[in-house]
Amino acid sequence: MSSSFHWDFWKSITLLSIIVFGLFLVYPLFSLFVSAFQDPDTQEWTFDHFTRFFTRKYYYRTIYNSFSVTTCVTILAIIIGTALAYFMSLYTIKFKAAVEICIVISLLSPPFIGAYSWILIAGRNGIVTKYLADLGINFPSIYGFAGILIVLTLKLYPFIYLYVSGAMKKIDCALIEAAESLGCSGIKKVVTVVIPLITPTILAGALMVFMNAMADFGTPMLIGEGFNVLPVMVYSEFISEVGDQANFAAAIAAIMVIITSTIFMIQKFIVERRSFTMSSLRPIPVTQLHGIKNVIMHACIYLVVLLSMIPQIVVIYTSFLNTNDSIFLPGFSLTSYRNMLDSLGGAITNTYVYSTLAMVAIIFLGMTIAYLTTRKKSWLTNIIDTLSMFPYIIPGSVLGITLLLAFNEGPLVLSGTAVIIIIAMVIRRLPYTLRSSSAILYQLSPSLEEASISLGASPLKTFFKITAIMMLPGVMSGAILSWITAINELSASIILYTGGTKTMSVAIYTEVIRARYGTAAALSTILTLSTVIVMMIFFKISGKRNVTL
């Protein structure tokens, strides 16, 4: 009897995950492609939207813009992240723990906060710009390509840093010693041994940077000005009042999905062909640099970290400035916070409620789907496994549009509800938890479950009494990351929100657009603070001081 019941449980989880992915991922994506090929008035099949995109320079230039800025960001992030990881892993660095925490914070904070504070610093009315103008120096414009490059590089190099420093820890010291014993040393050793060993890792990190930079909406929107990139184009075409734009926006979104999935496939192809696993018995020992070299190294590291922390510092500083709604007054006050609570208290509550609900769903789905795809392999669970990778390649704004197009009318209307925002959060952030859960399941020997079954526990009981409990630490660390990224989510929510379902990141964005910098800064401070606190909890739970996304 209980045997048929356990089968039913996993069957229903299979069904549930197919419904979740099918309804909220495949179906919307399908309707996106359908509307990309549809005439808005006649509903007839047409290539017009694509023709229009590829024949007008105003539109097709965004592809070039997106690619150029994304490629530059990726290259810069690789250089900074790898160098930082290399020196941080091999040499004694003062305040290493603090440096690492700062790096993770700059990764997890919402990207547009960076853009916004760089505007505060070096924008037209920025602190530095004004100061230099008083001295008669004309500061080069931060807006456009340069601004996006600076902000995204400083935000995304931590991906490379985290990936590479993880790999550096896994390089066995014996490999380095073997190279030395064969007569290879100095820079040659780095080029012929260390770099090739971490190349697959760099490529994996590079993909994350590329995808994030490509999909990022907030930064180019705030600081890009005339420099149009794909996500901004999708958003503005979709939001604009002209009636037929939804189909055109869908076409641009479809182009984006095709680009990101192509990049994803290429990266996967390269990495799979040259992947290997390393396990280190004895990591490379940390050594102390001396003299001028040591000073230069520390200066460079602190400079990079300081630059990436500047947005946070500026935002926190600004939030305490005395303000009269849009103009900053001399002195400090809590006005911004008071204003924020008066007008935007709902956004704060929304953010915590939605992200927590999303996290609960993510934990449940993450654990059960990970179990399905690792322990109950079949063609069906393979499909689920593949589907669960999709959110990696779908930019947030595209996901927002697809959900809106799919659930705006007809049997299931979700647009304007909190549900649709939570769904977007779950779909976008589930992969983190799914991956950490699967990783832990692969490490758990199936004998543990068999031992429990042999002792008389039914398979379902075994899952809850043994498997789930042992998965929990890994799942929780994934879920916390999911939560942090969910509270900072902008690109999907900006499309899905309505007055009552505004979240903090959306509120920050709209406040910045309305030039109410004080309240925006106060909200950002709250967001950053939440991120830091939860990250501390994460470090406590996982017992380590790094994250893997």
Binding site: S445, E450, G456
Partner: protein, 375 residues
Amino acid sequence: MSVEIHANNVVKKYGENVIIPNLNEHIKDGEFFTLLGPSGCGKTTFLRMIAGFNSIEAGSISFNNEVINDIPAHERNIGMVFQSYAIFPHMTVRENVEYGLKLRKIPKAEMKQRVDKILEVVQISQYQDRLPERLSGGQQQRVALARAIVIHPSVLLMDEPLSNLDAKLRVEMRSAIRQVQKHVGITTVYVTHDQEEALSISDRIAVMKEGQIQQTASPHTIYTRPYNVFVSTFIGHSNLFHATIRKHAEGTAVVFKDGFSLLMDNLNDEAADGMEVVVAIRPEEFALRSGTDGLHCKVSNKVFLGKYINYELQFEDSLILPNQPSLEFTQDSGHAEEILEVNQEIILQPRVSKINVFSADGSHSLMKGATRHEQ
């Protein structure tokens, strides 16, 4: 309650891939029964079919005449010990042992008494409040054993339980397992690829190859009267020679290819005049001869192993079966009167009562009383 196990025409397939084509076996109540074979022979597959972790494609397995094919694993009341120990890392030693009893809703007092006793038997009482990660491999395996036995299972299944332990501990645990099993008197099916372990621990051994049981017998019979050439070479070492049966006035003889003839009085009726056979001689079944009557060979290598000396031999190619890893002769250090040198030419005389004769294809024994299945 301990049970006897019957396997009738059991089949295991993965898709088109047949792992076990047709297996029949009877495991007696209270017996220590070992499945022994090279990796991939299907021994673990069969064990997991008894446990309920592998499905049974055809045939049946029964405990005391009750067919268990369709009973899910957790209702079979088995105790299982795994190669990886599979101790729950988030529970203390005591909680691990209590796990199965709690599921059976055993009253507190009885549970305490049973756990105390079993911890005593496997000698881990002093570690009962520790988390398992602080235990050595041998101690973890004792916990696994206690956890499996404490539920009073119908049958105890052990899947290579000692292969992750170091050599010394393995020998120690071997006797501990044997002792506990006899103490509790429970039917035990034990899987191993280590022949020495199998010989030392078992009541009976089933030697498996390619999903089929080659021979089931007591360790002594398996070693001294193997049923076929596979068993004779898999368990211990056997040197294989071509020979022909000759019947004449003095009796039946096996004649080697160089004409050396050996009178045998323990061949069965199948041995007919002129029949081609395979003679299997173990390294310790040779005696050194000073005369000319015997098998001529040359010492090609010598390894001194303390208790005995092992020589590698070279014979005429026509004499021996091809593709043998080595031909060996072992001298007991305590009795060896003459230590041989490399390249020395020697003559060896097989001991008639010890050697085995098989059909030319190696499929079965021609010795009197040799059986495939010994009760």
